[in-house]
């Protein structure tokens, strides 16, 4: 009879071999690649003003989107957890549907809303304000990122707020706490872990998002598009690798740190 530990090793072996060949090894090579062009290549994102601008754009956009997502998602989640109405399960499943959309579809949605043939252009023309478009700049990108982040936040907050201790809030109210005090002293602490975990995922997803910006062919440069252009248009492999490393480290570190801080309870978020 085989020993249990050998048995477990045999169970892991296929996955481990596959993972080593098609992720670990390629990524190690990716890490080594910029060195071919000199060590300075690793710091290109800091030394080249165009790349630095692209990184700052992406960081700013992602932080802004994360903040907005947490505020809106939190408020909507609390509301949905409290209200009971017919069709609530349907509304919830419609609101979470975009979780499975590729970024390109969300880019297309923003074009339908704010593009040259968009809904908003029709409305503003009807109001006599001329055809307003916002799809192809910062606003379009911001709304697109908000669109793919909100479903996760709404779902997580609705679940967390449903599980929140209602007695705590009732106690606070019966002691005369105002709505604002209830929000500050009950909601925010009770939802802190959810906020941290959800915020990290939204931030990391926004940093790495590619499809939405790609579809919008945005005038606002973000790092994944810069990487893609370096690779495909300029065949600048070492630079594309260097920028990918920076991007990957930022998303991984933010997820890792919040995972540590929030603890395993928030891991499922």
């Amino acid at each position: 009879m085989t020993s249990p530990s050998r048995l477990l090793s045999a169970c892991v072996a296929p996955a481990a071999a596959f993972f080593a060949a098609f992720w670990l090894l390629p990524v190690v090579r990716l890490f080594a690649l910029p060195a071919d062009k000199g060590w300075a290549t690793y710091f290109a994102v800091l030394t080249n003003s165009r790349y630095l601008q692209s990184l700052l754009n992406t960081l700013g956009l992602s932080l802004g989107v994360t903040l907005m997502t947490l505020i809106l998602g939190g408020l909507v989640g609390i509301t949905l957890a409290r209200l009971n109405f017919r069709g609530k399960p349907l509304l919830l499943s419609l609101l979470t549907l975009p979780l499975s959309f590729p970024g390109v579809i969300i880019g297309f949605f923003i074009i339908l809303l704010g593009g040259r043939q968009g809904l908003v252009a029709d409305v503003t023309e009807w109001m006599g304000l001329g055809r307003t478009t916002f799809a192809y700049g910062f606003t379009g990108l911001f709304l697109g990122y908000l669109y793919f982040s909100l479903p996760r936040a709404i779902a997580t907050y609705t679940a967390a707020a449903s599980a929140m201790d209602a007695q705590l809030e009732e106690a606070a109210r019966s002691l005369g706490a105002s709505r604002w005090q209830v929000a500050k002293d009950v909601w925010i602490p009770e939802l802190a872990q959810t906020t941290l975990a959800c915020g990290a995922i939204v931030f990391a997803t926004s940093m790495g998002a590619f499809g939405t910006a790609f579809t919008l062919a945005s005038k606002f440069d973000v790092l994944p598009i810069t990487i893609y252009n370096e690779f495909t248009n300029y065949a600048n492999f070492a630079l594309a690798a260097s920028l990918s490393i920076v991007l990957g480290l930022i998303t991984w570190v933010s997820l890792f740190l919040t995972h540590r801080a929030a603890g395993p309870a928030a891991a499922g978020a």
Binding site: A10, C11, V12, W23, P26, V76, P224, I227, F237
Partner: protein, 265 residues
């Protein structure tokens, strides 16, 4: 004094507004895919013409994506289920480390993973130009979902007892695994499979870098249609994506409820 359940009116109003923002584009896109002329709206009459054109031009991407997703599910089952079992039973530090490593492809942007794959294996032409190249990318990305979901099911206490009982009755490992363990975690396996399927069908960030003109998936075709086709065709194509993804999502939701009912949260 206000009732504890009462919400300030602002919150329901905000919820309606956010819901409109989320649902309006879906409705708009469904409408645009079914009318004769998008600018003229519903007044131009309904038609299935654009759907027909999508099937003509992009039909192959639909079958390719479905097949790819199916293979991805099979692959992640073969690689992932035994791995999930080992992760659930092993107490070694190496197992924890491997589990951490395995989730890295989720934590790192798909673009970076795709770039690494292209740089490492791009020279092997037959591999680079086949769907296997995309499949490998999808497997790397979906495997952690399979391992985590099924691993959590394997960790349940009653299952450890069940396995012990089967062992003491003389069942060997294969008998225990196939006859006792896998049936016991079947709902989790099915749920993870559906999740892997939807992830693969909708994957774009990796796939765009990995595809070639001859290996195109549904989202790759979508990007192409948004860039080069009229808005009605892009919308009809989006509708096709919804047709593909919705039954799977409903199945997932139904299964989620079932698991919750049987095993608690």
């Amino acid at each position: 004094m206000s009732h504890p359940r009462q919400l300030p009116l602002l919150l329901p109003a905000l919820t309606v507004l956010v819901s409109l923002f989320m649902i309006a584009p879906i409705a708009l896109s469904v409408m645009a895919g079914l009318v004769n002329n998008y600018s003229a709206g519903l007044a131009s009459g309904l038609t299935l013409r654009w759907l027909g054109e999508v099937l003509d031009v992009y039909g192959s991407t639909i079958t390719a994506s479905l097949l790819l997703a199916l293979l991805c599910v099979i692959g992640s089952l073969i690689l992932g289920v035994p791995c999930a079992y080992a992760m659930a039973r092993s107490k070694s530090r190496w197992a924890r480390l491997f589990e951490e490593l395995l989730t890295l492809p989720i934590a790192v942007p798909g673009l970076a993973t795709a770039l690494a794959l292209v740089l490492a294996y791009g020279q092997i032409r037959d591999f680079r130009q086949s769907f296997a190249f995309i499949l490998v990318g999808h497997l790397v990305f979906t495997l952690p979902f399979m391992v985590r979901t099924v691993g959590a099911a394997f960790r349940r206490h009653e299952l450890i007892a069940l396995e012990e009982a089967a062992r003491s009755l003389g069942a060997n490992f294969t008998q225990r695994f196939i006859g006792v363990l896998v049936p016991a975690v079947l709902p989790a396996i099915v749920a993870a499979s559906l999740m892997v399927f939807t992830l693969s069908v909708g994957e774009f960030n990796l796939t765009w870098m990995l595809h070639t003109p001859l290996t195109r998936t549904l989202p790759v075709g979508l990007a192409d249609s948004y860039a080069s086709m009229r808005i009605e065709i892009g919308s009809a194509y989006t509708l096709v994506f919804l047709f593909v993804i919705l039954p799977v999502l409903w199945g997932l939701q139904w299964l989620g409820n079932l698991i919750e009912k049987h095993h608690g949260t």
